[in-house]
Structure formats: structure tokens, C-alpha cells
Symmetry: none
Subunit: 213 residues, 2 copies
């Protein structure tokens, strides 16, 4: 991270932190390690973040917005410099769970050998950090006057949407809630609604409510 000018490390429910071994290995970059923010849950870590990107080695069955590292870092570089972007990496063994990916607006994949791909998490982070550094120094961020809805606002919208869909008996056996909500999250996450647009959508949801059974 420090090699590539990344500074803000968040650790979600770490197995061992602080760790003497980790500190020793950080040689010269232990300032980043000791300044890490420890969170109990991923949701907690993502409060106030404007764009959440999940790292994934494999193609997912549900249609996420999948970009490779290059496209992802280009997107980040173009993103307003006053915005916060989180790139989420899972555990060494199993990566991110689907529930964790549900909190992400886009997926980042690393291109590689189609016949053999098992990058460990340190290597994956290295590749991302390098590519991000290269793009940061090549691309000027766009000044978008439109405020994108942030993580908290999107989560709140999904919750509201799920309530309303329950309310109108939308979910049924052929339309399982978990699957449908995942598809809807993918769709709205990819669309990256502006705060104003989200307000319109929420206004619609509020108007559906009065028709109580």
C-alpha cells in the first residue's frame, strides 16, 4: 500500500491485530498498519463511502457489473477527488461472500491465465495498487457537479425497497426475495444513482405505502 501511495487501511473483524509478526514485516510501512481502522462488520467500514468496489477472482452467476483492474482504476481516477472509494478484498481462503458482495456497487476482476488462476490476496492487492497508482498519475478526475448517492443512502434505499416489495406481495416462490433483491442491488448499484435520483425513487416508494391491505 505505502509503495503505491495508498494510506487508509480498514480491517474487518481481523483474526489477529495488532500482530507483532505483521508489524515486523511492514518494515517502514508500519505507520499504515498501526493507523488501520478496525471494524466489526463490513457495513461499519463502509459508512460514508461514495463508491464500493469488491475484488473477485471468479465470474459470478448473478450479473454484477464486472470490470477488470484497468477499467476499475480508470473509473476511480475519474471519480471526483473529494469522493471516497473503498476497494474490498476478502479472506485469503474464500474471498468475499455473496452477502459482502451485495454491499458493493461494482466488481473488480484481475485478468490472468484462464487455465490457472489462484492469486493470493497480497498479490491481488499489489496488482490493484500498482494499476491505481499508474492511473492516478495519468488521469485528471472529472468535476461532476452531481452528487452520487453514497453507500448509506443506497443501503437505506434497498431496505425501503425490500419493505415495499414485501408489502405489495411481490416476492413469491418463483420470485425468491434473496435472489430478486440481489438482482435489484446489481442493477441500481451499476446505475450509480445521484442523490437526487435516489430521492425520486424513494418518493415513489413512499407513495406505494398508503395502499395498505
Amino acid at each position: 500500500m505505502k509503495n503505491m501511495s495508498l494510506r487508509q487501511l480498514y480491517l474487518v473483524n481481523p483474526q489477529g491485530y495488532p500482530s507483532a509478526v505483521a508489524t515486523a514485516r511492514a518494515s517502514g510501512a508500519d505507520d499504515i498498519l498501526s493507523a488501520a481502522v478496525v471494524c466489526k462488520t463490513l457495513e461499519e467500514a463502509l459508512q460514508g463511502v461514495d463508491l464500493v468496489i469488491g475484488a473477485s477472482a471468479r465470474q459470478r452467476s448473478v450479473k454484477w457489473q464486472q470490470n477488470d483492474v484497468l477499467q476499475t482504476c480508470e473509473k476511480i481516477a475519474k471519480f471526483g477527488s473529494n469522493k471516497t472509494v473503498a476497494v474490498v478484498f476478502g479472506t485469503e481462503k474464500s474471498g468475499l461472500t455473496n452477502a459482502e458482495l451485495d454491499l458493493c456497487q461494482a466488481l473488480m476482476t484481475i485478468p490472468g491465465n484462464p487455465d490457472y488462476f489462484s492469486l493470493n490476496v497480497a498479490a491481488a492487492i499489489q496488482v490493484f495498487a500498482y494499476q491505481n497508482f499508474v492511473f492516478k498519475h495519468q488521469i485528471q478526475p472529472q468535476n461532476s457537479s452531481n452528487q452520487l448517492a453514497n453507500f448509506d443512502e443506497l443501503e437505506s434505499f434497498y431496505k425501503h425497497l425490500a419493505q415495499v416489495l414485501e408489502h405489495i406481495d411481490y416476492f413469491e416462490e418463483k420470485r425468491p426475495k434473496a435472489l430478486l433483491m440481489r438482482r435489484l442491488r446489481r442493477f441500481f448499484g451499476r446505475a450509480a444513482p445521484e442523490a437526487q435520483e435516489l430521492a425520486i425513487l424513494r418518493g415513489i416508494l413512499r407513495n406505494i405505502k398508503p395502499f395498505a391491505k
Copy 2:
């Protein structure tokens, strides 16, 4: 290496090879490790090579041809495919000696934080291998096997949406229909829903209908 489709590993005067620890860590890529060619000297390893590139973290005093990873990999990609390119990495502790760099035709540097740079050799090789892979294989477009909703389907959706919004008394003086529909069109248009996603959204609209006044 295997993750990024590199296959030919040469080891110059290795401290321990074969190594049970290395083989265990190679998990699935031990074929590359066991096929490694062991040489006593770097000169021996470079016999018959067409282009020799040395990896270096720091600027050298003597005027080498210095390229960053990006430029280097572009050069390799453009190099004849019937030619052999060697990329030489030094030891973890001290990198390549000047004598070893003398055998190289060009130097490859990895861009990074000017105030702190101490990539270990595995990370440096990972960055090179990734960049080399990307250049060798033109970036694949995003997963585009999914059928996007076409113009007619989108128009039909907007019509349906407007009907439902009328139905739930969403439009009012402060929420003029023309303006709101324009905003919604802009949002959904930008989101470019797939046909399947549009079907989900229309399913939701259909479920709102039964709550007639």
C-alpha cells in the same frame, strides 16, 4: 508466473533448489517450479536470448535505457513473437549488481511512491507479470453476453411506469409528471438495463396495480 501465463523460469545459483517449502507454496504451479532451469551464472542463463531486461527499483548513475513497467511490457509485446525476452530480477536483499545489469540491454523500473519504495521481489515480479499479461492479451470487453433491453422495451417500460405513478397519485404540483418522467428516463437510460432486469422491474410495476382505489 502461472497466474499470468509465464512459464519459463531460470534460477541463477539458487540457495536452495529443489526446496520442499517452495514446492508446497507453489500449489498447482509446481510444474513451473520443477521445470525451472538452474544455471551457475547469469551469462549462462542468457545464452540465446534476444532481449535482456533488468528490473531495478532505483535510478542508476550510469545512463541506462530506463523504461517503466508499462513501456517495457509494450516493448515486449511489440517484439517478435519468435524472439526470446528475459526479464532479470535480483535477490530480495540487494537486487541486481552492476555487473549483472551490464548484461542487460534495458532497465525496467516500477513506478511508485517517491517517498517510500521497497517492493519485495515477489511483488515486483507480480506487477511485471500482470502488466505483461495485459499487454499480451488485449483487454476483453465487459461481459456483454447479456441482452440489453432495446428501445421498444424501454419505451414500453416508461409508459407502464408513468401509468403506475399516476395510479398511486405520485405526481402532484411539486412533482410535475413531465419533469419527473424525464429524470426517471435519464436514470434508467443511463443504467442501460438488461432485458431480464427490465422484466423484474415490470414485474414490480404489475404488482403495484392490484391496489386500486
